[in-house]
Symmetry: C2
Subunit: 219 residues, 2 copies
């Protein structure tokens, strides 16, 4: 089991019993999603932007327009942090204090650089689309060079990271279990609804199998 | 219609046609959720932390332990930004470039201060719980003074803000509509599953009506 070394950046202080530094566990959290929250600093403010991503080994890839303020800013700073969170349940205790949520979150710290090789950029854009919907890229119109030229791809190398996971029931004060108060969990899940075909499809174009598979596995 | 004045902080550059500065519209996005992403700066890194929140007028309230590094940091900096995002659909175009998501997001900029009055703190904690699950606080064991003392409540005043909304179908290149490629939306929704009562409930305690109502309106 490979772990990130704990330092002042990634050491979890509050709820340290929920902290995870194991790379495989953190990668499982990252690979369960396709939307991350990227931080950048502008005019002294820390600003958070939701972005699509893909992971390969210890790299997270982001992309956007060549004028994207956030991407240009993290490239200039050469570092940032990225957070991914999945909400799993509302935890409703007998007292307000013990209310919580079940979740899986990871915070990554690392450095950023621009990907300049066109073949590498193209492969990463393919991976970002396929992270959103598996096996989707091969069904699309091939990318034009001018589209590639209009896109920045940023490679973020994970230097250190931590995750926090809460995956349990209600934890109330011992004496509160005697109270006639309901407590429990409400599980929360992000689901897909049935795909809606574009109005302007050519006649005879059916919803492809990989899209139906996505819906079946996310409904 | 009250709008936030556009300045360099909140002006949306990329996808400016999707930008919204209208306060009522932004409040609708904020009131549709209970989890926000708060930025803070630590050791030069912008770090993003997911947090529960409640809104009242132009204030966003956060809370946490008196040792919470993020809350202490934004109180010291006296300012931060907060992002809320709701994902509504995957937008699957005929080309990779036009892939997108439908979403509603708001980014708020403002200043922070600690709430010190106990009555005000208690009312805010009640509102944070009721923002997660409406009408829930009244069913709980009353809060102890020592619990209030262990909790920091931060008041964030929205000084400026912007929202971005995408709520439409696929927008492909004109010539790509002739291609025999499927395109469309996969709607995405966050849902609640049936409540799971705590194993240790006293005999005869049923799931309360407000919890059943929550499930019915979020399933």
């Amino acid at each position: 089991m490979q772990e990130f070394e704990k330092n002042k950046l990634n050491r979890v202080k509050r709820g340290a019993n929920r902290a995870v530094y194991d790379k495989e566990h953190i990668n499982t959290i990252l690979d369960a999603g396709f939307l991350c929250y990227v931080g950048y600093i502008y005019d002294g403010y820390p600003i958070t932007i939701p972005m699509a991503y893909a992971r390969k080994d210890d790299k997270i890839y982001l992309h956007g327009s060549t004028a994207n303020r956030m991407l240009l800013s993290i490239l200039e700073a050469e570092k940032t942090s990225i957070t991914v969170m999945h909400l799993d349940a509302l935890v409703l205790a007998r007292s307000g204090l013990h209310h919580s949520v079940n979740y899986r979150s990871a915070t990554l710290f690392g450095h950023c650089k621009k990907v300049v090789d066109d073949n590498e950029k193209a492969a990463i854009l393919e991976q970002i689309v396929d992270t959103m919907v598996p096996n989707h890229w091969q069904s699309l119109r091939p990318m034009y060079q001018k589209e590639l030229d209009r896109t920045i791809v940023v490679e973020f190398t994970i230097e250190t990271a931590s995750a926090k996971i809460r995956n349990e029931g209600v934890n109330d004060e011992l004496e509160d279990y005697e109270l006639p108060i309901w407590a429990g969990l409400i599980p929360i899940k992000q689901v897909a609804l049935p795909p809606i075909s574009d109005d302007k499809l050519l006649d005879g174009i059916e919803i492809p199998q990989h899209i139906l598979n996505y819906y079946q596995s996310h409904k």
